[in-house]
């Protein structure tokens, strides 16, 4: 059976679809968070070298992975929106940015918290933390550009171009920062480096990764629903919605 994908790329259909999917994502994410945190903080064994403080790994690494992944997803949606002129893709890109920035911020925060017991200082200019900081700048640039343009179509297209340029630059920035770090003999101990030797550690990590991912999906879908309503406020189908008439 062929599925008509284009049907779901219309904001009016996607609005309903997103409303149905988002609560499921949120619910499953909550369960996975609970399980992941329990296994990570209680069940998983204490690390031989880092003691208990390594457990922040179960938050730091999943958020760091998702912060980079979400930027690429955002740039992907932006590119589709720019090339095929589909409104929904541009709205998805806009909806992804704040969540991506949030994960970047959490990764930075937890990185700093991890640095204190490990190096005795809150901030170390290591390659991963520095890249995360630059990624946060890229997210902020995307949101700042989008919000400073009044015309939504120009805002979508300009921000999309910036996201694409940024995503081409992300690997270059990442490797240049690593290069800089290796030349200056930064800390030999990198943030986020943990010897995973136990099955419960692996389980906790994967649970947390999926929990974060589903959380991102739920929040982005809810946010894109608001954006759709705002952009399409003058259309017939919005006026006929139950929640609008009530």
């Amino acid at each position: 059976m062929a599925i008509n994908w284009f049907k779901y790329s219309a904001p009016s259909t996607f609005y309903g679809l997103a409303g149905k999917i988002a609560p499921w994502c949120a619910g499953i994410s909550a369960v996975l968070f609970a399980a992941g945190l329990y296994i990570g903080l209680v069940v998983a064994p204490t690390d031989a070298t880092q003691g208990e403080s390594y457990r922040i790994f179960f938050i730091h690494v999943p958020t760091a992975i998702l912060s980079m992944f979400l930027y690429l997803v955002m740039a992907g949606y932006a590119a589709i929106g720019l090339i095929f002129n589909t409104r929904l893709s541009a709205m998805m890109a806009t909806a992804l940015a704040p969540t991506g920035a949030l994960f970047t911020f959490i990764a930075l925060w937890t990185g700093a918290l991890w640095g204190k017991p490990t190096w005795g200082t809150w901030w170390v200019w290591d390659a991963r933390l520095t890249s995360e900081l630059i990624l946060l700048f890229l997210y902020i640039g995307f949101m700042a550009l989008h919000s400073s343009i009044d015309d939504p179509r120009r805002a979508d297209r300009a921000a999309a171009l910036l996201a694409i340029v940024g995503s081409v630059n992300v690997p270059i920035i990442y490797y240049s920062v690593r290069w800089w770090n290796s030349l200056h003999q930064g800390p030999t101990f990198e943030v986020g480096r943990v010897a995973v030797y136990d099955d419960t550690m692996r389980q906790a990590f994967l649970l947390m990764l999926f929990a974060c991912w589903l959380y991102a999906a739920a929040v982005v879908l809810w946010r894109v629903r608001s954006i759709i309503l705002e952009r399409e406020r003058s259309t017939q189908w919005v006026a006929e919605l139950k929640e609008i008439r009530a």
Binding site: I134, F137, A144, G166, I173, S176
Partner: protein
Amino acid sequence: MNPQDKMSLSDSLMLVIRRDWLLAMRRRADVLTTLVFFVMVVSLFPLSMEPDPNVLRKIAPGVVWVAALLASMLSLGRLFSADHADGTLEQMMLAPQPLALLVFGKIVAHWMLSGLPLVLLAPVLGLQFGVPTEGLWVLVAGLLLGTPMLSAIGAIGAALTLGLRGGGVLVSLLVLPLCIPVLIFGAGAVDAVLAAKSAAPNLALLGAALVVSLAAAPWVAAQALRISME
């Protein structure tokens, strides 16, 4: 009109460069402002700390590069905004030549007027910080490869923020993170020489990045102009 009166692509490129040069020469103060800003930012660093010659020598490459980055951000506002305000940009977009070519011309002119003077002045500032001769050469070589990239990447930001409120601050916010690799390789080259290592890998990476950005940035900036002019 005779067919020989039509202009070739290189004629158009030269026309744009000569035009921007001519306009800048009629307003030399703008060029000088950028240059003075560059010198001033560099001079602020020794004043903000104890001027220990060893420390100054160590921070010199980074300070000069950061100042160059800021100075080129300052001049980005001029890249398209005057042409946008008086309608010249509309006419450029209606030129029978590819828009990317004309944008490339504007990038070259912008570099000659804002990047090249910094490169020529940098050795003097390096001497103030006590950088040895071999370090000065590498500093100049790095800036020569790096500053055109700042103009090229900056053109994308300037095109995206065309005509926006607070465009000047916004353009720095968009462009500076993208310029970090240039900073790392450029300042890294001088650091390497000062640490008695070879600057070649850094300079080679800068050169490669220059080729890529000069090939891609005019095209991207042209797309950004089309978006901004709608």
